[in-house]
Amino acid sequence: MIEPALAPLDVARIRADFPILERKINGAPLVYLDSAATTQKPNVVIDAIGNYYRTSNANVHRGVHSLGNEATDAFELGRRRVAQFIDADPAGLVFTRNTTEALNLVAASYAREMLQPGDRIVVTEMEHHSNLVPWQLASERAGLELAAIRLQDDGTLDMDDAERLLKPPTRLLSVTHQSNVLGTVNDLATLTRLAHAAGALVCVDAAQSVPHRPVSVRQLDCDFLAFSGHKMCGPMGIGVLWARPEPLNAMPPFQGGGSMILRVTLQHSSWNDVPHKFEAGTPDVASVVGLAAACDYIDNIGLTAICEHETRLTKRLLDVLTTIGDIDIHGPLDLTQRGGCVSFNVGNVHAHDVGTILDRTGIAVRAGHHCCQPLMQRLGVPATTRASTYLYTTPNEIDALGEGLAEVKRVFRV
């Protein structure tokens, strides 16, 4: 049975929801191909933040007055809405600043506090610094071993190496769902099976997957999952750690302060229930409200449709890059193995020069190490140029990128 293809996105209508897309950059219309770094925000999200401050702003969980109650309701409804977005129980959903903080929370309260010297943590060669440095800090301080699953030349993980490493004394695998450089979507089903069979927990860096494809923590069967609001049409300053109840209940607090306590004396304290135990101090209620609005916005359009749209764009992007010539594409070319974020190098032109020339005609791409220095070393390049798409990206913008790259070749005589 063939799945009926979804109707293509009405991108023109979607674009009208994003006021920044009307901007001109250096006299040209903005072509925003940097959504993997942060996405733009639709009016409904911007307005949700403003409306919260204009009508219901108060501190939460602490008061008997009506505004405090409205703010608390908005906050906890937001928690439920975001949990629903990843098919999770809200009791396991902890709000953090971003993916980075979510991963640091697991590294500090689980790896550093609950693992034993000699235990091993496994990551991969394609990890973002945010899914590497926290484990380095925890490993150094708690005497843990840190190992990385090797990458194959096609930009996918070496599953033999995974099998070798996902054995005792491995206690935790922390792996990205989708690479922010290569676009590779990792085979989490196999990795999770191997890790769990070895008695290790699985932490998923979902910063690049939750915004772009349907993600269910129940189906993934992972133990921890981290992502950022700002990469999914939501506000900056809000991220999520979801965790299964067993590790979450057992873990000691991450930060101490208001809201996370049950009873406090000058010398000792006891802790509130999860998820509150991990949310110290005044939370960013406005951003939670904004993130819930982003979930509504995305779900109204449909993640499956968004994912199909991005696949079509990625196909066009790969075609354009191949047609131009003298371009090294990093990461898999098979569209079933990747998402809509493509890194490449133009001849031996430095990525910054590529980025600057593109910016002169309004095209925003990322150029640099993308917070993946070990991956750059593995690829043997100092930096790459990365173009990344989202629901508001049009085929014309991909073509504009092609023209810009032709100009790069002209200027640098590649």
Binding site: G68, N69, I261, L262, R263
Partner: protein, 151 residues
Amino acid sequence: MVGFSNTTPVEDDLYREIVLEHYSHPRHRGELETASSRVDATNPLCGDELSLAWRVEGGRISGIAFSGRGCSISMASASMLCEALDGQDMATAADIAARFRSMLLDKGPSDGLGDLEALRGVAAYPVRIKCAVLAWNALLQELAGTAETEP
């Protein structure tokens, strides 16, 4: 004269006479030395603290008491709980508790709840509902726990 003259103040919808009366003269307040069950409840965000203890003999509650401190609603509710459940068989006790919760959380009917009906007004004050159900939740939790461990 009810609801007629405006020199007689209409009764407060939340702080009904009978609620304030239970608050200032709580029934069953104290310790129950011979308790068969005992449970603590706290509301960490408010600081309410409550202990509830009861004795079951022949399938009936033959003694019940509470102690602790908190707002008028949580204390009056605990006092009324003790009064309503003392002498009841366990099934009736659980039924009253369920109907009381339903009255507050789902605006369910209050028939036959007696004095407890006086707490109906709390339903209009969302932040105070957790004060009113504090003792009841503790009771139901303990009953559920007991039910599970007994065959």
